[in-house]
Symmetry: D4
């Protein structure tokens, strides 16, 4: 049986769920409105729970029209169909340093919910207000992993990493100005983290941050 | 009871094992021979299984002399005491693209063994010889995570990530020349990986790559 | 007889076809609509098959109006007159990693067709879906060269290079976000390719990628 | 009267103490042994308390021989004459993230002592061991400024800045490896600090970090 | 009593004034109009003198409407309530190299006035017109610190630093073109300043430059 | 039959000659003396003409001892066995800008000779002496490709590309100082070449430059 | 008598002409329309021939209205009053590599004409069409300096420098795409020029390129 | 008659003196001792005054032995034969910011003396000691150009450029540490100079700085 379905404009990988555990996500950027809707439709028809990221406003409108039951998150720029089973894949904490890290955090959260993972969301615990993080530590009890999202100096993952005994997936954001360089400073800070349990994904990569944490959480329940 | 033991030259964090799951590792670079031996000794006395990384030849000699039962790995530049229990924390695959990635791979392997994780080591499966990787895929069956170590273009983690359903921790190495920039090309390649399950640690960070994978594997057995 | 024809705003090199094998291509960026049409016209009158790249919408309109027989490719942003002979210069494969690499691929394809080269176009065979490329390998049979177009980590040329015995011209694209840096990550990945048969051209340089591959294919038939 | 004394190899600025508050410091790097000793001697003769930084071993030997009462700090690579008055210029805290930041810290400490400032030295309080810093906060009571020295991700100044109400002078160190880039990661982290009271000096600039903090402390007592 | 007041969209740190000397500043960028007004209101109610920076035109309008007594500075993009006591915290000089550094300078000035510091503003004394600075030196008499704002080569802080005996806080601006790189050239010039009393904050960081200078001036009066 | 022969320290790809046209080259850097000799020996036994690059002096000595008929090029740092057939794969020109580009040129030449390609070597024709190149143009008659090696501004490939109608493979060298950045300036110059027939390989990549040109020449004779 | 005239928004340096040979040029970027007109007016009244660069359309309109005799160059974005004496300061050649370098060239030309220097303008002589430059060499006879303007690889100044015996002022332009980095590639190429008589100014700095060449030409006639 | 003399290892351009005004300089780096001596000898025999730069100690020894009348400058790393006519080409000032810029300055001085230009050498006038430069301004009277050599922030050329009415050739040096990046900070500072008469050459390019200034001075006397 064919693994790849050639739709003319994009090869949709229907076999991925079996091979990699989760179906292929639809990265909407650079695709036409029609292409996004059509891939979404086809995944749906094949019994896959579709999930689209980096959805532009006009794509979002078309998806909402076509799939009225879908879950749209405008801040996260994601659209997904409701899960077809209850969350049963462990728990992941998502932390942000400041208000402006929220859109990336929302993308991570949507990814985790789509995977069936329980999410603890802790906002605005940047290192310049040190007692804020400490107050929120108890909420992370029982988590399999944390996704820590921060711009500027990117110090939060190191500090979180010093408190917990599970992997921290650090997501640098392009928030800031000047020598921030669109998130490079935060990225470098995270790569050089003195905490041993910190790994890093690309700048603003909320989906990937959530996805890897979700894979770790999935392991937790086996 | 005190958590931190001030030894004059370095504060040894004896409480870390309880708080973070694994005791503090001794990063030997920039420490005197005496300091390394003395911290090692103290951890040992406190019932911790000590583990030292980036050990320089003269430090290695002193450690071998003082701890004849210790396990020295000259390629990995690590020294550790034998584990005080059997490996029981799941399985991790360690893959390298080429011969020159071996020292970093050895550091990851030693870290995993110290943590009590089973290791599958697959060498020399770089992307320019595509059938090599495919031949070795079955060995990764049952792993909780993979540590993929590559220099040059850093493409191997993406390719591995396309085959497996667990997290891939990518470790760029400084192997190469010219526009390699001491591993930056590999690092950037890995950060931009099109595979969703790839996270990244610092260049040549074999310890951190192994450590995070070990934490994921530890989860696996819970 | 004069080699260079001074038109006031640009020196048109009419002798280039004899000296370099192919006539000078019209790089439309930064030229006025009138200049583009006028150079196009003059080349046409001199018996050259004109070819314009990086054509902006308003330039495209003017060219379509003035040369109704011309071949416009809006995605590629190219405009050319139909070839005055049948394709007879060998065969070149053009591969892309993902949907967003398509505009650059189209520019390469148009260039090859203008040169009289047969093109095999293989889309969407990025490394995270490894079986896709393998399925398409047979199509490359008999090619003189491949143009491989990829953004993100730029790993595809290395993998293709491991399968074929002819030169691979790698074209990095500016597709991606974060630590992609407008294509630099892909560029560096390609420059550091572990496959010996991979050369590189500038980011988004679809024309140059196609042109060099076309020159190699031209050689093939001699 | 002449302000500048031309010694052939270097113009010694004897007027600086009056104009800028402190005499010119002797930056020994790139000077011959004879030049260093001779400038030191001349400052001494003019009633200035000389202070040399970045002193190389052979320069150090010559200075020790010639000025047996001098204070040599081999780790800091500094040599100075004892102060001619009691410390009376306020108090400054010097903090380091890890053992390897110590040489830079020592340079800052020597600078402060030479200026007549009281120093509180707090070692090894990096962010991955969060309780260490908190334990040491009371020691900073009454300080006019802090010099915070850190390599790797450079997060410590931000965290310290969140606890104190005086200026923090951050000194990035070149400690680390990989994407540390000789201290650039730490430098960028510090420049992007989310704490409002953090300023930055050059990588490994222990002298400048101490000097600016000393100027602030001097203000304190006016 | 609670230290942090959770408002849903942002945690407002009401305790900061006690802990750090000055209340938390409202960084308006990336916040909604409603959020800015509401945080401003709440700080006001708690007896804090609120201060907002990076205020966008629509946020400015809303603040002006709601707080008719507020002090708006459109060039500086700041909004603050009038101080509730007379300036009593020393004097700071703010210098600019050229006309285009003025917006950043205004942000520094507003910050200092909000802190209750006296400001001496000296414009347009760039190094290519050397006599201009010399003419203005007497105005800096009695200052505790200088904030020196410059784009292009960023040389002004070094020159100022050579004339004065107090700390110079250098603020690079993104003014310029070509190899200016959005202020990086000025930033690097300032970090490498040969004057010992120069520290640096981020590019265009007028608030931070003013804030640190204000903290130094505050010390002056103690 | 097995394609890969596992020798413990490195997997030797004996099938590559069939799949990719040429056998795997031995990159000696980072291998032990024994490993290099042993892989060389094994290839030899399998009927392959072995070729080693980046050979260090001690490796070279061992190879010379073991294979007295081998062809050693100390400048190129290569060692190869004599070809087992006459050169029959077309002609390639190798040009250098200056004396210091010679080692990289020699590596390219050795590669081409190993492949059985005829080589025309043209030294020292940098752009600052414009008549030198013109004098040598006739020698390039009948070539299938040129390998152009240059450091500093990397302008030579563009100029050569303007004269010839075949592909130019540009090899940047790390020759130079200052803003040369170990060859990056030359690399960037070549990537931005205004000549359409110029492709680029990595800095100092004499082997790859020669190899790709050789593949093009091989095509020429088909 | 006062040297600097304080106009509130900018200090106009009326003494510069005596001190530096030419009056201060008005850099219009970042100034209001009123400021530009007013400074222009004042210089005019003081007997200076005013010259404004980087003039924006609305500033240009205002200048044309107020000074109907002024010379506006929209491509160069300059506005100046006619010279008050005949050109008598030697001759300078201005060369461009391609059509897109023209705006920068025009700025250089206007600067030279304002200084009273004779200009030879040679367009479109990029290195990929090598005979074009050679044809135009005779026009440079008798020049004191050349301003050579080029984007892409920035090779033209080196080639020109190889033909002439006077200084070449190289001006990199931001023309190009991909690894051009807004002119950095051209800038680096020019800094690394193998021709000894090439100096460099900032990217797109047509004014500075023309000004320095004009100063050299002025010397010529003394 | 032949213009180029092929010596096997390097093409010596004997015609350059006629074409470019000065004979080809021997860049000794990367040449064998024999090659340097032999090229030197041949130039001498052809009536050229030879000049070698970047001469290594062993090359220097051989040149001193063979040409006892030669002028060796060990600091500058240059060797030249005495001029065959009196200096008659105008006057150039060479200024340095600090002691460590001296080797580069010496290379510039030797170049100017070889060209027959009078040199005014002004050392150690860096911007942090502002009165030093002012004291030395009168010495620059009557110069045709200045070569200004500075590391660190590279501010000196801008300040010098503000005082003089002739071209300033700025030479950045690799002196410094930290964010100096081997002279890049100084280079960027100089490229962004706010003084209109400043051009730049490569880092540590004392020869080129002197050569261009010499060409300007040569013009002066015509």
């Amino acid at each position: 049986m064919e693994q790849t379905s050639d739709m003319g404009f994009a090869k949709v990988d229907l076999d991925r769920q079996r091979r990699c555990g989760f179906p292929e996500v639809i990265y909407a950027e650079g695709k036409t409105v029609e292409a996004v809707v059509s891939i979404f439709e086809r995944q749906q028809r094949c019994g896959i729970v579709p999930f689209a990221t980096r959805v532009k406003p006009e794509q979002m409108e078309a998806l909402k029209d076509r799939f009225p039951n879908g879950i749209a998150n405008d801040l996260a720029r994601t659209f997904r169909m409701p899960p077809n089973r209850k969350p049963d894949l462990g728990k992941v904490a998502v932390l942000t340093a400041g208000t402006s890290d929220q859109p990336v955090a929302e993308e991570a959260v949507e990814t985790l919910l789509w995977m069936g993972v329980e999410v603890v969301l802790i906002h605005d615990v940047g290192v310049a207000g040190p007692h804020r993080l400490v107050e929120n530590l108890p909420q992370m009890e029982g988590c399999a992993a944390a996704v820590v999202i921060a711009g500027m100096e990117g110090a939060l993952p190191s500090v979180v990493g010093g408190y917990v005994d599970f992997p921290v997936v650090a997501v640098p954001t392009s928030v800031g100005y000047g020598a921030n360089f669109g998130g490079i400073s935060a990225l470098l800070g995270m790569l050089n983290s003195c905490a041993s349990n910190v790994t890093v994904v690309n700048i603003d990569a909320g989906f990937k941050g959530g996805y890897v944490a979700g894979l770790i959480a999935k392991n937790q329940r086996k």
